[in-house]
Symmetry: D2
Subunit: 295 residues, 4 copies
C-alpha cells in the first residue's frame, strides 16, 4: 500500500476538509456476528460526507416506498457528482439518489415526512441505532463550511425548485443537506452501521429492523451502479462490492450475508473517491474472494 | 406473466427483426453441473444481437488484456445505446464495451489480433465451444439487413475513425459488427454458453478454459453496470444479477457459482431491453433469492 | 396584423407579468431628428425586462472596456435564455451578455465599478438621460415577483459563483438583476432611449455622449447575433435589424444612422420573444426597406 | 498586418490543404460597377471550401423556396462546424446551412432538384456565371483527399440518414459535398462572384438574375449569424459585415449596395476561420466605415 498512500488530493472545496491528514488510513471489517477486524486509524472520527446519503435514502424509502422513484431515478449518471447539465435535459429529475441533486431530492422527501424532530434528527437516530454509537454527531464547523462554499449545491437546489421537483423551502432543504454531509463518524462506527444492509435490513446484533429486506437489497444494487459517481463502473470492475464513497475519504462497502467494510484515506482520485481506500478494498476483495461477481 | 407478454414493441429498425413473433417466450436456467431447467420456446433460434458483445469482449480481453481499456471505458454511459454525443465530448473513446460504439472498438481490437480465419470465425468458435452446439450460426439475412439499415452504426464507426480510435478499415469493422449482431442461438444454447462466466472462466462441463478467472469476474461486473444500456441501474435494482440484453429480445444473466440464465421475449421496453424477459428475470430472482445483493 | 394579435402566450413565470393585456400593441419609430412615429399603446408603461440588459451592457463597457470580454463571451448560445448546460461545459463563462447568465456577469461588473449610488441608480440615470424621461422607474411589485419566482436565475448566479466568475456577493448581484428586469418604460420612451445606438453612441437630440462610437456599433452587432435568445438567427433572417427582446413583450430595434424602433405586444413565441412584435417589425422592415442586409 | 501574417495553423485534416503557403495573402474588393481593388495574391487559385456552401444554398432556395427550412434551421449552432451532438438532440435537423451537417442537407436538396447535369454542374454553372470566369473548377486532388479523410462528414451524413433527413443515397450526397468543397477560385473570382448578394440577387455587371432580392437579403442575414461557425458572433462584433469563411483560408464578405470583398490567408484560428483574413477585414471595416452596424 505504501506507494499509493498520500497520493491523490484531499478535498479542498471547503477549508474544513482541506486540513485532513493525507496519511490517515483505516480499514475495518465488521461481520454479522459483531466481530470487528480493524487496522489503522479506525477510531478517528472523519467527515462521512456522501456516505450519509445512504442513511437518508433508507429513511426516504421507509417514508415513501416506491413513490420515491417518481422524484429521483436509479440510473448511473455518466457525469460528475455535481453536474447540472443532465438535470436540465431531464427536467429537474435527478438520475439517482447518490449524486448531489438526487440527494437533495431524497432529503426533501425526508423533510416532508419527518416528525417533530426533523429530518436531521431522524437521520442521527437511525445512524446511532445502526452503529450502536451515541457519539455520532454533525460537525458544526463542517456544516458551516459546506454552507459558505456550497454555491454549486445551492445552484442545484434552486434549479430543481424551478422545475418544482423540490417541495419544501429550498433553503431548508439545503441547510439539512449541508448538515447531513457534516456527519462525523469513525471507520469502526461506519462499518458497524452498514451491517443492516448486509443482513436484509435488520441489525444482526441488536435485532432492530431498520428497513425491509427488499429495500436493503435494492439499496445495495444502487450502491453498485451509482455509489462512486462517474467511477461507479470502475469500482464494480475493481472491487465487485456495493459501496458508497464520500469526499472525506471514506468508503462503506457491503458484503451481503457476511458483513460491512469501511475504508478511509482522505486523498481522492479525479472522480472524488478515496484513492488508497479504493485500492485497499480492491486488494481485500481480490485476496478474500469477497466479490459478488466471483464464483 | 400473461398481462405483460406481448406488450412493448418488437425491434423494427431492420425488417429481419420486425417479423419476430411477439408472443415468443423462453426462460432457461443451466446450472454448473449441466442440468437444464427450461420453459417456453427454449429451442427456437433467435437473433442474439448485442449479447454477442459478451463473446467479442471475452476475445478482446484474451488478446489485449488490460490494454483494451485504453480504447474503451468501463463506465455506464447515462445515454442510449446508440448515442453519439458523449463520444464527441470524450474524443471518440466509448464509455463501455456494451454500447454500440464500444462494441465497435472491441471488434476492431479482435480484428487486429485475429488469426487467419478472422474475428468472426474466432467468435463462432468460442460460442460453439461455450454452448456445446455446432448449430450456432450467423444469420446472413439479418446481417444483410443490419448493413442496409445500419446508418447509425456506420455513423458511429466513421466518427470514431475520425478520432483515430479505430485501427482497421471502418468498413471491415462495420461488416464484422453487422455479422456478429446476426448471431443466431436458442435460449438453451445461450444459457449454456454463459456458464464459463458463472464458473471463473472455464466451462464446467467440458473443462475448457475460455478466459481467466479474474476476467470472468470483471465481465460480470461490466454486465451489472452497463449491460442494459440506459436501464442498467433499473435492471440491477429489479433483478440483481449481471446481465446482457439484445434487441432480439434475449437477455443472458449470470449467477456466479450457480449457473446461467437466458430469458427471451421479442417485445422491448423504451431502452431496448426485453420487457417480459426483464420481468421474468425479476420474478425468478425474487422467488429463488438468486440476487447478488441479497444476504 | 389582426390574425396574429393575441396569439402566443403572455409570460407567466411571474404573476406580475401574467396579468398583461394580450391585446396591447404598440409600434414606435423615433428618427435621429427626434420625430416620433407612433401607433397603438405607445404611452402605456410595460416591463422592459431583458431590454434593460442593453443599458447595463453599455455601463459595463464604459467601466471595463474590452476587459469585459474575459467575463462573458459574444457568441450566440444555441440554447434557451436560461440554459445552464453550456455554462457547465464552458466553466461558468456565459456565452453572451444577453442570455440570463451573461446579464448576471454584466451586472456583477457594473456593481464592482458603480459609485455611491449603486449599479441600479447608474442604470436609471443612463436610461432617463437616453430616453429624456424622468418617469422611467423600477416597478417594485415586478422586482419582488422576480425575486420570489427567480429560482432559475438564483441557480445560474450560484453556479457562476462556484466557478468564481461572479466577484460580488451573489445575493447582491441577483437583487440588482431582479430590479433591473423590472425596469418599466413606454414604447415611446424605449424607442427614444435607443437613439444613441443608432447615432454612434451620442444622443442626437441632447448631444449627450453615452458611449463611444465603436461600442455602439458593437452593441448593435451583439443585438443582431444574440438579441433574441435561440431565435436570434430567425430574427435576423426575418427582420434584418439589430434588436433586443424582453419577456414583457417589448422589442427594441436599432436602424443605424436613421433611428430606433420599439414594438410591444405581450404574447410571446416559444423562444420568449414577442410574437406580434416580431411580425410587426418584419413587415416594417420589408415595407420600408430598412434592413441592414438589403442593398 | 505583418505580425499576424503566418500565425494560426493551416488546415491539416487533408494533405491537399496542408501544403498551402502560410504566407499567401490577398484582399480584393469588387464594387457594383465592376471596379476591382486588389492587393496580394489576388490571382492565385485556392480551395474555396465552405464558401461553396453559399452557392449551393442559393441553388437550394431557388429549388425549394421556404420549404428548405423544414430540412435545416437558420440559427447559430453554438458548436463547432462539425459537431454532431446538437444533431442528436435535435433529431437530425441541422441548425443552419453553413455547418457541415446543414450543408449536407442543402446539397441533398439540390441533388433532388438538379437536372440532367447534376447538382455539381449546377453549382459550377452558377459560380461561373456569378464570377464571370469559366476557369473556376473542382480540384480533383482536393476532392479525393476530402473523401479519404472525410470520416467526420461521412459520420454526419449517415447520422442524418438514420433520422431520414437525407433523401438521396448518402454516398451520392457525400461525393457531391466532397467535390463542392474542392471548388477552386481566386480571390478576384470570389469577390466578383459575391456581387449578386450585394445587389439584390442580380449580377450588376451582366444583369443576370441569380436569385430573388428577398433571398439575397436573407442569405446575407444567415452569413452574419452563422457564417463563421462558433465565432460568428465574434466576426459580427469585429467586422460587422455578412461573411462566409472556408478552411482554405478564404472569407467572402458582402457589403450590401456597395460591393463584395474577399480576403485570403491560409492559417486559421481555433474556430477554423482565416486568422489574418479576419483581421484584414476588421481593419478594412474600421477604416472605411463599411459596417452594417455603424451609423
Amino acid at each position: 500500500m505504501e506507494p499509493i498512500l498520500g497520493k491523490g488530493a484531499v478535498a479542498s472545496y471547503i477549508p474544513a476538509l482541506a486540513s485532513a491528514n493525507p496519511k490517515s488510513f483505516a480499514l475495518v471489517l465488521t461481520t454479522l456476528d459483531g466481530t470487528v477486524y480493524k487496522s489503522g486509524d479506525a477510531d478517528t472520527p472523519f467527515s462521512a460526507q456522501s456516505i450519509s446519503k445512504l442513511f437518508m435514502l433508507t429513511l426516504a424509502l421507509e417514508a415513501l416506498g416506491s413513490r420515491l422513484w417518481k422524484r429521483v431515478g436509479r440510473e448511473p449518471s455518466g457525469n460528475a457528482f455535481n453536474s447540472i447539465s443532465q438535470l436540465e435535459y431531464e427536467c429537474g429529475i435527478p438520475r439517482n439518489p447518490f449524486i448531489n441533486a438526487g440527494a437533495l431530492a431524497v432529503t426533501d422527501a425526508v423533510i416532508s415526512s419527518a416528525g417533530d424532530h426533523g429530518a436531521l434528527d431522524d437521520m442521527l437516530t437511525l445512524v446511532r441505532k445502526a452503529s450502536g454509537s451515541s457519539r455520532v454527531r454533525i460537525d458544526p464547523e463542517v456544516a458551516q463550511s459546506e454552507r459558505e462554499w456550497g454555491h454549486r449545491n445551492i445552484s442545484l437546489g434552486h434549479f430543481m425548485k424551478s422545475f418544482e421537483v423540490i417541495d419544501n423551502d429550498v433553503d431548508q432543504v439545503l441547510n439539512t443537506y449541508f448538515c447531513q454531509c457534516a456527519l462525523e463518524m469513525t471507520a469502526i462506527e461506519l462499518s458497524r452501521a452498514g451491517l443492516y444492509l448486509a443482513n436484509g435490513g435488520s441489525d444482526p446484533i441488536s435485532g432492530a429492523k431498520i428497513t425491509q429486506p427488499g429495500r436493503a437489497t435494492r439499496i445495495n444494487a444502487l450502491m453498485m451502479t451509482c455509489g462512486h459517481y462517474d467511477m461507479s463502473g470502475d469500482f464494480a470492475f475493481r472491487v465487485g462490492l456495493p459501496g458508497k464513497s464520500g469526499v472525506g475519504g471514506g468508503i462503506l462497502c457491503i458484503i451481503p450475508g457476511i458483513g460491512s467494510l469501511c475504508a478511509w484515506s482522505p486523498p481522492l482520485n479525479e472522480a472524488g473517491n478515496s484513492l488508497a481506500g479504493t485500492r485497499a478494498l480492491e486488494l481485500f476483495a481480490r485476496r478474500t474472494g469477497m466479490n459478488v461477481f466471483r464464483n
